[in-house]
């Protein structure tokens, strides 16, 4: 009896994931644009700035590569989560929420669906890594793991915010006051060292995304500020916290 219930919950979770994956497969233009954008950062912005700047003897383009991966995870994950505002408007969620599946399972299916989307996009970006000579390809699996955990945190955060908002107007506010600050304060585009103004250093160190960028940069370029285990623990803690917060808010959502 109990076993049957768990099986049904898992099946429900899988159903939600499966739905997200189908949507992902169908929206090809969205995938293309979500990959083209980071490539533009790398090749247009990166080579522009890289013409006169290098960091720790590493080509600037190579230096920001981990940061751009984190950027893709940040934007992809949070927007994926926020998208439930739209789903609710169109009543797509309604049919799901009345099914005999717990909210937690639906939430987990959603989180895994978002992480799958983002991870597949990251893998596509990794296919371009041979263009960046300083990247150590053996670091890719560990980088992928760290980015996946980051994605759990950020999809959960998006879903948490999405369950609080009833209209898409919140989108702009969240973009301006949350997503962009998280990105700029993550050290994705510049090194975190003593040359930074004191206040900026503080903010950067408070930003959990900083540790994702640092960890990935460590395994791919062997340039880092914190030991890998610190990055890993901070990111994991961030993911657990956001996951719990998101599941609570999602369960309370009307």
């Amino acid at each position: 009896m109990n076993e049957g219930r768990i099986q049904k919950e898992l099946m429900g979770m899988y159903a939600v994931w499966w739905r997200e994956f189908k949507v992902f497969q169908r929206e090809k233009s969205r995938i293309v644009s979500s990959i083209v954008q980071p490539l533009m950062w790398l090749f247009l912005f990166g080579s522009g700035v890289g013409a006169s700047v290098s960091v720790s003897d590493i080509n600037y383009q190579d230096y920001i590569y981990p940061g751009i991966l984190a950027m893709l995870v940040l934007f992809g994950s949070v927007y994926f989560g926020l998208y439930i505002v739209w789903d609710r408007k169109l009543d797509v969620l309604k049919a799901m929420l009345v099914a005999p599946v717990s909210r937690i399972s639906i939430f987990m299916g959603k989180v895994l669906g978002g992480c799958t989307d983002v991870t597949l996009q990251i893998i596509v970006l990794f296919l371009f890594s041979f263009l960046f000579p300083s990247i150590n390809p053996w670091g890719i699996p560990l980088a992928l793991l760290l980015l996946f955990i980051t994605s759990i945190a950020l999809v959960s955060m998006g879903l948490a915010l999405g369950s609080l908002f009833n209209s898409l107007e919140g989108f702009q506010v969240i973009s301006a006051f949350l997503i962009f600050p998280l990105f700029f304060l993550s050290g994705a585009l510049f090194p975190i060292d003593d040359k930074l103004p004191f206040w900026l250093q503080g903010l950067v160190k408070l930003n959990p995304l900083t540790y994702a960028v640092d960890g990935v940069r460590g395994v791919l370029l062997n340039v880092h500020i914190f030991p890998f285990y610190v990055d890993f623990l901070v990111v994991t803690f961030f993911a657990v916290t956001m996951f719990l917060l998101g599941s609570v808010l999602f369960s309370r959502m009307k």
Partner: protein, 325 residues
């Protein structure tokens, strides 16, 4: 055997009593219609039974499970077709059903066959692999019906299931709903303001107005409660009192130049009635409809409250009432 039971079920939104202490008991295999104008409390009642809306007070059970204490068990017993479409328009018809089957724990060995069966029943087997965004309104509704029945629920809730469909599709859907109720012993609880359709389909109807059930019987029983046939006569001057004095006339009133009479056995007495009236322009005789029952109970036409009605429900009642203008 009763499969749904509510006692003093109540929902209050702020200061509005949307559902006011409803006591209902619905039998297994029955097609039960909840009829009433928009805002009468139909959708809220269904919402509470489906565990979406939490009652303010009172209680209800479905198949023996309490809607407040055991919502998960209740949900397993029910299928729902919402008033507003809830299909996933990014997915194909078949994928929508697959998603639903998994959410409701339909085991994989029967899933495929069941999906095919349901697609066939709603005539969508040829369009099953098309994205539902390309479906017409009627097709979407049919697919939702198929989805609601997919997991063989004990009770199927249909909130205005034929809203916005063409008459042919509507008739087909009602037939199918009747068949389902019979062969699978599915109890159907539906809301509608299409009184005519409810008459043909429902075993029993409850008329709901301002959150209260004001009448509850079989459609025949309700119509019989009107006491006789309806006669409408367009006149120039109306001898109201003379007609009222006739022993077989139950009720008579004048409405914009039309006399509305409820009488016993109209076919026997029509000649005498007409002989009293001097200038008869036209006459209509018919048996009462549920809408007449509604008018009698509430003093107004159900259509007056139905904004989304686009004239598809043009029937004798409307003509009867509005001939004067």
């Amino acid at each position: 055997m009763e499969i749904i039971k509510t006692s003093a079920l109540t929902k209050i939104y702020g200061r509005i009593q949307a559902v006011n202490s409803i006591d209902l008991s619905i039998h297994k295999g029955e097609v039960f219609g909840l009829l009433g104008p928009n805002g009468a409390g139909k959708t809220t009642t269904i919402g509470m039974l489906c565990t979406i809306v939490r009652p303010s007070s009172g209680s209800a059970s479905i198949a023996g499970y309490d809607i407040i204490r055991e919502p998960a068990r209740v949900r397993r017993q029910i299928g729902i077709v919402f008033q507003d479409p809830t299909l996933d328009t990014v997915l194909t018809g078949r994928e929508n059903l697959e998603l639903h089957a998994r959410l409701y724990g339909v085991s994989s060995d029967i899933r495929e066959a069941r999906i095919n069966q349901m697609l066939e029943l709603v005539d969508l087997h040829e369009r099953g692999n098309d994205i539902t965004r390309t479906y017409s309104g009627g097709m979407r509704r049919r697919l939702e019906l198929a989805r609601g029945l997919l997991h063989r629920p004990a009770v199927l809730f249909l909130d205005e299931p034929t809203l916005g469909l063409d008459p042919q599709t509507r008739a087909r859907i009602w037939e199918y709903i009747k068949k389902m109720a019979q062969t699978e012993q599915t109890t159907v609880v539906l809301t509608t303001h299409y009184m005519e359709e409810a008459e043909q389909v429902c075993d029993r109807v409850g008329i709901i107005d301002h959150g209260k059930i004001i009448a509850l019987d079989s459609p025949e029983g309700l119509k019989e409660s009107m006491g006789g046939d309806m006669v409408a006569i367009r006149v120039k001057e109306s001898p109201l009192e003379k007609i009222r004095a006739l022993p077989y006339v139950y009720e008579v009133k004048e409405n914009e130049g039309t006399l509305e009479i409820i009488t016993k056995e109209a076919h026997l007495h029509l000649a005498e009635i007409l002989s009293i009236i001097k200038d008869v322009e036209c006459v209509e005789v018919r048996v009462p409809t549920l809408n007449d029952v509604f008018i009698k109970l509430t003093g107004r036409d159900i259509r007056e409250d139905s904004i989304e009605d686009s004239g598809s429900w043009v029937d004798s009642v409307a003509r009867y009432r509005q001939r004067g203008s």
